[in-house]
Symmetry: C2
Subunit: 645 residues, 2 copies
């Protein structure tokens, strides 16, 4: 796959069509604060007006009268890092050009297009001739479902099962790649569920049906009805509080977070400033929240110091372990196939986020290239949970009793004095923990991912993902565990309901720039060391052996195999005592894949073979599973990039 750039002519003179759009553009702009229009931050996401303008520019080159065109991704084409850093040093000089990156299907071909919004032109237009297809559009996924629900043989299958078609709900899913030599058309598989008495459709799968839709010709390509197994019953599946019998456990009286003097953050456009942190928050249809330019205020130096150039969810691999005919293919790449950002859901005030939350909208481009508003997609709030950031009580300072508090003997006045002196603390210093959280919830089908970026006053950034929502279950003939003698690839959760084994692998892209651009990755291993010295009473201790990664291959790490600290340090900056300045990467629970490395889905998800990978900055290497994930073949992943020596 070679990458070639094609330069296209500027849109000038204006056609009547683009003039019309320009007008619309200006009316849109009127709702955007003036300072933002005049000085957008180079990393701000595309505005609705910009998205509209991108559509116009692309349509100008590819008029819909003579081309079929669908927009699969429209996002900011970020300036290169040196340009952003140079702008940061002098934000009053001319802004870098605003550019958009577009992935479009034009006449059945995938194009990667860069549109310059200052020059009003396409500056690069490249046909993707390698494996893999772009993100699905909502319209495609939705149309495939509509097609299914009206498809005769499918309706017959529903009828045969004694079900009502109006109670059937379906979803469209990526078909993935399993070693087929020829490249498939763009297809999805449609899976259906039954409502009829519950909103919890995921608990009522209609098994036995395989249905493949060609989403470009929008026609059913394959339909099979292999077998029927009972649909789990609706009773007890509805999760709405109002539907619970018996009702949910004791109802609690309310607990609220109050900030009588207002919040401590300042938000200007997409720039957030809180306590000692300053960062930029953007939205990307594929990644969801993008944190950029996070830097922390140094009180001694009276300036902000860089920490994180950019951080976002790069890919999300969800392989199921059920090898049945209608299930084996379920090895989803939620970010690269469906869009982690596109799947974001409006947050519910007071429930998804506390009372003191600030909400932010986002925009994406629909299939026809027009902007769509997603309200309340991010919330930003100060988190106070009663935790302690740091504390110490000092008790061994000799001298007079100082303080307002003492221990006492129960009976003896003489003893009282003695205990007072002994127990009283002379110093107690407690600093409560208040942090800042940026939250987005992405609902990819049945699962809801709660994605938090937490900034702490202590200087750390904590990234967490909460997995909630519904399980994807399989209908089954079994009603009791003891009936099961075959491999069922899961656990019987309820009558006729199997919970298939599966994993969720989230991969973050973290471009750490500690105190500047040039950083090294250091692994500090703790090594048990034997002592063979009769004069020493100890036989062992541990010491630290640090290694700086020389190649990407070196820097691949499987956690849990040894005790090690992982750091990103700036080798050019040292403390007064000579230590490198750096940040530690502290993992939570550790996991690793349990699929064979030559299995197709694992080749495509080879970025999960190691827990940590380190690569040098390369603007195009954003997506761990490659830019085009649907039906990808693993030739453009972190694992292939890291083979460079």
């Amino acid at each position: 796959m070679t990458k070639t750039f094609h330069y296209c002519p500027v849109i000038t003179p204006m056609s009547p069509f683009s003039k019309t759009l320009l007008f619309l553009l200006l009316s849109a702009l009127s709702i955007i604060p003036t300072h933002q229009r005049q000085h957008p931050h180079p990393l701000d996401p595309l505005t609705p007006a910009e998205i509209t303008w991108v559509q116009a520019i692309v349509h100008y080159s590819y008029p819909t009268s003579s081309h079929t065109i669908t927009f699969h991704y429209v996002g900011l084409e970020e300036p290169p890092k040196p340009t952003v850093l140079s702008w940061l040093r002098n934000p009053f000089k001319k802004n870098p050009h605003r550019q958009a990156f577009v992935i479009a299907r034009i006449d059945q071909t995938t194009h990667e297009i860069i549109v310059d919004l200052t020059f009003n032109q396409i500056i690069s237009d490249q046909v993707h001739d390698g494996y893999g297809y772009p993100l699905f559009t909502f319209e495609e996924l939705s149309a495939a479902v509509e097609l299914t629900l009206k498809y005769g043989p499918f309706m017959e299958s529903i009828n045969k099962r004694g079900l009502k078609i109006e109670e059937v709900a379906c979803g469209s899913y990526a078909a993935e790649w399993f070693g087929e030599k020829e490249m498939s058309k763009r297809i999805v598989r449609v899976m259906c569920y039954y409502l009829d008495g519950t909103v919890n459709l995921y608990m009522r799968p209609i098994e036995g049906i395989s249905l493949i839709v060609d989403i470009e010709r929008m026609m059913i390509r394959d339909f099979r009805d292999r077998s029927t197994v009972p649909i789990p019953k609706a009773d007890g599946t509805d999760y709405r509080e109002s539907m619970q019998t018996p009702p949910l456990g004791p109802t609690l009286k309310g607990t609220t977070v109050v900030q009588p003097h207002g919040p401590n953050f300042e938000i200007e456009g997409h720039k957030v400033r809180w306590a000692n942190w300053d960062f930029h928050l953007s939205f990307d249809a594929r990644a969801g929240p993008v944190i950029s330019l996070a830097s922390i205020f140094d009180v001694e130096k009276q300036k902000y110091r860089e920490v994180l150039y950019k951080g976002f969810v790069s890919e999300l691999f969800v392989p199921y372990m059920d090898l049945n005919k209608e299930w084996y293919y379920r090895t989803f790449f939620d970010a690269g196939e469906y869009g982690y950002g596109l799947s974001a859901m409006p947050l519910e005030p007071l429930r998804d986020c506390p009372e003191n939350a600030y909400f932010m909208d986002a925009y994406f481009a629909s299939q026809n290239g027009m902007p769509v508003q997603m309200p309340n997609i991010f919330c930003i709030f100060e988190r106070y949970s009663g935790d302690i950031m740091w504390r110490h009580t000092e008790t061994i300072i000799p001298g007079n009793v100082v303080g307002d508090f003492f221990f006492f003997f129960f009976f003896s006045a003489v003893a009282l004095i003695e205990w007072e002196r002994m127990f009283i603390y002379q110093v107690r210093e407690v600093r409560p923990e208040v942090s800042l959280v940026v939250r987005m919830v992405s609902t990819v089908g049945n699962y809801d991912y709660i994605n938090d970026w937490e900034f702490k006053q202590s200087g750390s950034i904590k990234v967490t993902v909460g997995l909630t929502g519904m399980l994807q279950v399989r209908g089954s003939i079994y009603t009791h565990k003891d009936q099961i003698k075959e491999e069922v690839y899961g656990t019987l959760l309820a009558e006729n309901t199997l919970g298939p084994h599966h994993d969720h692998f989230l991969t973050y892209h973290l471009d750490v720039d500690v105190d500047g651009y040039a950083n090294s990755f250091v692994k500090s291993k703790m090594q048990m060391t034997l002592v063979n010295d009769d004069k020493l009473p100890r036989k062992s201790y541990w010491r630290v052996v640090s290694e700086t990664a020389k190649t990407e291959f070196d820097a691949r790490i499987k956690l849990g195999l040894e005790q090690a600290d992982l750091s990103v340090v700036n080798p050019n900056k040292r403390t007064r005592t000579g230590n490198f300045i750096g940040y530690r990467l502290i993992p939570g629970s550790i996991t690793s894949p349990l699929l064979s490395e030559d299995d197709y889905e694992q080749i495509r998800a080879a970025f999960t073979n190691y827990n940590v990978w380190v690569t040098p900055y390369n603007k195009s290497e954003k997506w761990a599973g490659g830019l085009f994930v649907d039906q990808s073949r693993g030739d453009d992943t972190l694992a292939t990039w890291s083979l460079r020596y």
Copy 2:
């Protein structure tokens, strides 16, 4: 070490001495609510009156006129589990006898004494003739420091260093065991620090001095002054907010938790009831908080179901890796030597715990056996941090638009309708997370451990320990990292300040009783499984292989070596579909020791060789490092108990 029981006579008729005590006892009782006195819970900690009464009973058998006696531990002697469970089934029948467990040094001998407070007599008095000594008393630790500060050669050493004796602060530390054949006397080592311009004495160690105090004869047994290294300077070490120059970063406007309708918990004595949880909270001088009889309300069955019979911190091993003459011995057992509960500190309202916290006091017995009140030792509060317990947004239900919220196109009214239909969620259900926290802070010298038990409405119990406070640092000749060519066992943190490598291993004792007494421990391993079937498109998947531990030896687990779920299940109780009812043990970050297994401190801390151990219920096996830890030799630890087949 054989255990023999000696029965002692009842205290009757009363001596004039015990009559006096009885009087005091009654005046003490008057401050305790009536219902509590009449019906104490069998697991309630000893009341101040009971502690006083225990002292009286022990003194009756060992009059202080003819015996030297010091109390090292006075706590509840719990009834056996079957007695407690039987009482629970019928709490209105006669309570089990209240008994106390006493560890005392009587005439230089360690006694394990059980006092029955109903019969007013010692019912067991056993001399401990094995290795190891009991907990230090505050009086001993404090007297050793006083002795040091007045000891001529020590004062000379201070003087020689040009320091002022009135600015010296010292602490007493366990000397541990390093293979000495003969059993040592009870000793401590005294380490000193310098104030003179800071309260952060830990940052100013006075190095080069070894000083050993015989704490029973209370005399200096050994004193050496080997070398002097500079004391790190006081500048910049004071941690009090008022002393910071420049001041701490931006001051935040306040954030408060408010419960306008009051808290949701009910606390009656030591019983806590909140949401769907019910448990008993006690205090133990050695363990700190003890959670007992935690059970959860089953809405369907309309009854509480057992989860945890008992949970507490069993031991805390803190080995330092510095092999210098004055440092090698620092391999502390914070619970068994100093008392994790004894080291607890009063919590500061609004800082250590939020506004909605309830505080609880605790009591322990001083060296002379009298009760000492520790105010505000526990806080209990509802934690609301803005987190989500469970949520789901459902978008694929076909049919009419329902809801108060929609996405919209920016410009086109026609498109608006289309997008509405496509994007609107039909169901959004969000349940915010509110949990209950029980907190204690234990300050063992320089370190502050924040010990939280968190009960969640989802049914899980989360146990966390936050490590904060000060580092224990070593004075050094070095002022810059580049000067260091030898092994210094740590990191140069500031001029003349080395931070020695060390670990903190916390071991919890969790007696899990899921839905009843008889439970099994099940390890479910996830195994990669290759598929050799041309008809299947997949080459691999993982399946679960469960093993029920047969012996204690089997059940020892090193985490991180394989992917496995650990569960405690009740093999006698199954769900309707036949699954065992159980609780999963979900570890956080994993660690393991890096000392050789034959090293003395590691023999004593052999309970850290595995991350998980499972033993059958045995009331006496509470302390992972053994009952007598000071100078123990590792013959009474989890590792020795688990050798049983």
